[in-house]
Symmetry: C2
Subunit: 587 residues, 2 copies
């Protein structure tokens, strides 16, 4: 019977995993390591014999493990946290990822592996392991220290960048080549998709969850949450992105709901179950013969991960204005790879673009760096002291001056306030424009089927296009108007700051007004041209466009206030959800 | 890709199930009904099209749903609750199950279905649905009333009997015939297995869980619990019982652990996930064509379930001494079938002994009776009043007299205390003897492989047998001695009660002492003969038996106190766990 062999597999996995994790816990090692070892013991490459019968089903369940891992990562992620993360995190994460991808690629080339293997190796090394860091810092009772907070910030930025890397790799693996233009197009489309998904998601999902939660049934809430999670992941797959991205995004959306704590409590056991299967399935892949054969690469890569991450993250933290000791601790804390690496390695296997040895090598490096992490964190302080002792005085003084200079150029007082305002306005303009672009792209995407629906009523192709394009414009109007108003506010601010009476003299007011009117109009014109380019396939003739333009102008003149009200209502709803969520969840 | 079609299935299941359950909740129907309807909508028999691609994997996961359902039923079960359940529950449950199996069988025969179909139909109708009753009573806010407590008692007894029915049906389905001897043998072996599993399980499992719980990791506890659950279920399957029995038993064992609440909190989301899949999978099987074809049988069976259960459970409750109104409410509350029926129907499908129409018919009857349950509960009171009005005075007086008579024969005061003591002693003797029997049966079972191990040392077959038999006897000695001592205590009690000075005169003391000595010795002799019968295959020659007997007698004489101490320690450990568990879990 199929089911019984499957239950037997589950029993073996859970029993061995349970025993090994208890042992791991005794030796203060993270549970994840225990799962991988358990998988190795059960696996086909170690005596006494293969204890798993139905590897396919186990692998399918392991995929569920990835989804739940990323979903819970998304739940712990939060937009507010991302906004609060300081410069340190961004600089360190960017430096780390760029350097590690480069190092990984070079190592791959050094061993004469294929380009795709080298690229995937770079991606595998790029991202540190939240699970392992949290565990190590928890064991060392250092979670509350400043450097730990910095590390958590870096990890949040890494999550977002990692999601981007996965999307990029999928694209590259399919097309087979790395082209700069394509990379930009992919990143652009990805960012657009994420912004649109987040805005629409945060408007709808928390309301739906609040509605379901009022029935006070854990079961119904769980089923709804899982339905949304799988459903959204599937939608993302249909859009040809990775399932992982979908799970993370819907998690991040639900993180803004008031039911976050309840959801986390309900989903955690399910995640624990499936992620255990995922990590055990990783262990199943380890073949000692491969490890022996690739002992040298593994050693070199391990060293590269530790040194590369310590240097890149440490430098990043230092450049962002932290002292040397904190920077070193940040670097040493981040010096390992984990679940993200497995997901990327699994992606390579699924897409059939990487060699078979890459996965076991990644697992081995992860295991080694996991083992070293707690020792490195503990070694950071003594090492910082010794380095300070060794350092020539001149160099130390230069470092000190750098810190002073950095602090001196930080905007303070009124200018810091202004910078904050400008940043906020830019964000709002960006989000509104992203929505407009998304509306037009979606119209172009669905144009054919829409035209099919219109066929019985309007036979002429051009008129159909005009209707679709006009409809897209109509839908976009609230966002376009909002973007225009924000652009105007920004232009006035910039005119105020840029055109000083000392220079412009008595023309000051006129110049300022001109700038304040010109910038938004020019920007809008540019945006419209961009939109026409994006929606080229559904662009009607010039004559029809003019008609649409006149109609739109009339509509705007008539319904200006109504459009503003619609937009304001949406914005208020969005901000309410964001603030409620953060208030309720206390961060 | 395999995984994506699987995720798609899950997404469809969860999304549709979520929506339908929300609708069901609005119309105050249980969630279970929503799942089944969702499965029906998704299923292959309804337009627009089959939404499920990978039905095999879904069915495998549905099997997990059954395991988790039974495991959680076990967790909610507790030995203490079973002991506290009154005569009402036992009488009502026995009457109900016997009558419903008979009715089901007769209906099957009436429609000229096969014997096996008729038998399974009887079993399907036998057991009421805990889920649906709890939901209905919760909605009506009647959970705390006396009749509800009686219903919960009946449900506990039903669970145990249902487990027995499943074991019996598996046996009958394999052998193809119902033989009284075989039924008794199966029931005997099943009871023996359950007692042994419970005793050993309660000695080991709660200690293991307490050990794991001290690490304060939800993840490790969950993995351990799941490992034990699957592992034990698998062991039970290897012993050729149903997986369902294993899941229920290990749940009942864990119910005695101090970590019960934590375990329930962790396992609940996992159960909800998989049981949702289970119920949706049931809905997938519904074919409207079958329902139309079997409309008459469905209507008749539905009527039979409602009338049969109201009458049997009501009569049972009344015979046990409840008033007419309470009895009617108990009967009407239990008048539906649910998850147990699905499990039994699924068993028939898995064993390939029932026809295809049986499952959908069972589901349809369950849906109809689920819908009627709340109305029946609400109708019980008015109906009782009307019945009381209609009843001839004579009949009412007879019923009243029956109640008075029943109360008069209830043991009270000292004799109730004595009855309690005797019952406790009998229970202890039974458990000890069950363990002894289990040791001998296990020795006979493993005799061949044990003999294999002994072969290099002792070549002679008879000596091997003697060693194995002697070893079993040695292991049994603590339990045999305990049983002997309890028998003696019982015999003294009986002698005291049975031999009154008025009858025996001056011989009283001597007669009493003779009885007190004879009963235990005779019983023990009988037990030894029984053991020899059970272990016939490993019985050595008479000469060797005599040698073993002499050795055992010597050991007993030497180590009497030590054997008693060993046994006492085990008994204390067991009682401690039982009491701790019940104290901690507050029931």
């Amino acid at each position: 019977m199929h089911a019984i062999s499957f239950i037997q597999d589950l029993a073996v996995i859970m029993l061995i995993a349970g025993m090994v994790t208890i042992l791991c816990h005794r030796f203060k090692q993270p549970v994840v390591l225990g799962y991988i070892i358990a998988g190795f013991i059960i696996g086909p490459h170690t005596p006494p014999f293969a204890l798993i019968h139905d590897e396919d089903t186990i692998k399918t369940l392991a995929e569920l493990g990835v989804i739940f891992l990323m979903f819970c990562l998304g739940l712990e992620f939060s937009l507010r946290k991302l906004f609060q993360v300081g410069a340190t995190a961004f600089i360190a994460a960017f430096l780390e990822i760029a350097l590690m991808i480069w190092i990984g690629y070079q190592i791959g080339q050094f061993f004469a592996w294929s380009n795709m293997d080298s690229l995937f190796l770079g991606a595998i090394l790029a991202i540190s392991s939240t699970t392992i860091i949290v565990k190590a810092l928890g064991d060392l009772k250092m979670k509350q220290e400043r450097f730990a907070q910095l590390i958590f910030g870096v990890l949040i930025v890494e999550d977002i960048l990692g999601i981007g890397i996965i999307a990029l790799l999928s694209g590259i693996a399919v097309s087979g080549a790395v082209e700069t233009g394509e990379v930009f197009a992919t990143v652009g489309k990805l960012s657009l998709f994420m912004i649109v998904a987040l805005v629409i998601g945060i408007l709808l999902v928390p309301r739906l969850l609040a509605y379901v939660a009022q029935f006070e049934s854990n079961e119904m809430l769980l089923i709804t949450v899982l339905g949304l999670c799988f459903g959204f992941s599937l939608l993302v797959v249909k859009l040809e992105y990775s399932m992982v991205l979908g799970a993370f995004l819907i998690g991040a959306i639900m993180a803004e709901s008031r039911q976050l704590e309840q959801i986390e409590r309900l989903v955690e056991p399910v995640r624990d179950l499936f992620s255990a299967i995922f990590f055990v399935a990783i262990g199943l892949l380890i073949d000692p013969a491969v490890l022996v054969e690739y002992a040298w690469p593994i050693a070199l890569i391990t060293l590269a991960v530790i040194l590369g991450k310590v240097i890149s993250c440490g430098t990043g933290a230092f450049l962002a204005g932290n002292d040397g000791r904190t920077s070193l601790r940040v670097g040493m804390g981040l010096s390992q790879i984990g679940e993200f690496s497995f997901i990327i390695a699994a992606l390579g296997v699924t897409l059939q673009v990487t060699s078979e040895f890459l996965y076991p090598v990644a697992v081995a490096v992860s295991a080694l760096t996991t083992l070293s992490t707690p020792y490195l964190i503990r070694a950071a302080d003594p090492l910082a002291l010794r380095l300070a002792g060794w350092m020539p005085d001149n160099l130390a003084r230069v470092f000190g001056l750098y810190g002073d200079w950095l602090r001196s150029i930080q905007p303070q007082g009124q200018s810091a306030l202004l910078m904050g305002m400008i940043r906020k306005i830019l964000l709002q303009i960006g989000v509104n424009l992203a929505l407009v672009v998304a509306i037009f792209l979606a119209s172009a995407w669905f144009a054919e089927s829409l035209a099919g629906y219109l066929q019985p009523w309007i036979a002429q192709g051009n008129l159909q296009k005009a209707l679709i394009w006009g409809g897209a414009l109509l839908l976009s109007l609230p966002f376009l108007i909002a973007a225009y108003r924000k652009l105007k506010a920004l232009a006035m601010l910039l005119a105020e700051l840029g055109v000083r009476p000392e220079q412009a003299g008595r023309h000051t007011l006129r110049v300022r007004r001109a700038i304040a009117e010109l910038i938004p109009l020019l920007s809008l014109a540019g945006i419209l041209v961009l939109l026409m380019g994006l929606s080229a396939s559904i662009l009607p003739t010039i004559e029809l466009l003019v008609v649409i333009g006149v109609l739109a102008a009339g509509l705007i003149a008539l319904l200006w206030r109504w459009f503003i009200r619609v937009h304001t209502r949406m914005q208020v709803a969005l901000m309410e959800t964001l603030e409620q969520g953060s208030q309720h969840n206390g961060h």
